[in-house]
């Protein structure tokens, strides 16, 4: 059962991501992206990353996706029901991306990853992440907070009408 659900989610992720990449309608793409995000959250659960799964949903679906929708809405006439989108250099892009994919797969898969035989099943990650965040990663955490502040101020400044 779990296997089945895993592969379903797997397929969902791939399919929705493909729609994002190849779809003609921007609105559809956005919703497909939501599917991808949710799917990835599911994958996290299979990886015993409960905290991340929740964060994924809250931040990506609740935050970023909404922002993207706003972005689309603010840059197109709202009346346009179907926001079509076009692409450039499709052929070349596909070629190159396939090449990259091949390279990744050929280099990653044959590799014998140490310890991959015995996966570690975390029971509970929140406490561990919290602990790490305030010990080993404290400086990174602080820098991240400054970065967020900067982004906040920057975005606010940039979005003002009179620059």
């Amino acid at each position: 059962m779990a296997d089945f659900i895993f592969w379903m989610i797997w397929a969902l992720v791939v399919a929705s991501a493909a729609l994002v990449a190849f779809g003609n309608n921007l609105i559809h793409s956005v919703f497909a992206l939501m599917g991808t995000f949710l799917g990835v959250a599911g994958i996290y659960i299979f990886l015993n990353a409960d905290f991340l799964a929740v964060t994924q949903i809250v931040v990506y679906v609740g935050g970023i996706l909404v922002l993207l929708v706003f972005g689309i809405m603010l840059t197109n006439q709202i009346s346009t029901a179907q926001i079509s989108q076009s692409s450039v250099q499709k052929g070349l892009g596909l070629l190159v991306v396939l090449g990259v994919l091949t390279i990744i797969l050929t280099s990653v898969l044959p590799h014998d990853w140490v310890g991959s035989i015995t996966p570690m099943a975390f029971s509970e990650t929140v406490e561990g992440i919290g602990r790490l965040l305030f010990t080993d990663y404290l400086i990174l955490f602080e820098i991240a907070s400054v970065l967020l502040l900067g982004a906040l101020i920057g975005a606010a400044t940039l979005a003002r009408k009179e620059l």
């Binding site: 592969w7 990835v40 561990g128 975005a155």
Partner: protein
């Protein structure tokens, strides 16, 4: 599902699709979406390796930071896109080639 490679393949596919989006889309928002895909692919890798290879939570931490970064990036990028739109009336990236001069 208990095998590392299934995650890696997923991540690779996701990455490629994201890359393709970034490379081909004309609409700036769509490109942003592609970037999000790429970041997600990276996250999956981190978490997967965390579980299968390193057996600790460092990968999770990095993922948390990446998610945070993505949020910040989306906010700023969107603000830029808005400006671009105000400036030109469209957000087609292939026409934004002021660098060419």
């Amino acid at each position: 599902m208990d095998h590392l490679s299934s995650y890696l393949v997923l991540s690779a596919i996701l990455f490629s699709l994201g890359l393709y989006t970034v490379v081909t889309r004309r609409n700036a928002v769509a490109i942003l979406m592609g970037v999000e895909l790429i970041l997600n692919a990276a996250n999956i890798n981190f978490v997967a390796f965390s579980k299968f290879v390193t057996h600790n939570l460092d990968g999770h931490l990095i993922s948390v930071f990446i998610i945070m970064l993505a949020a910040a990036e989306a906010a700023v990028a969107l603000a830029i896109v808005l400006n671009l739109y105000n400036d030109r009336g469209h957000i087609n990236v292939d026409e934004a080639n002021a660098l060419k001069q």
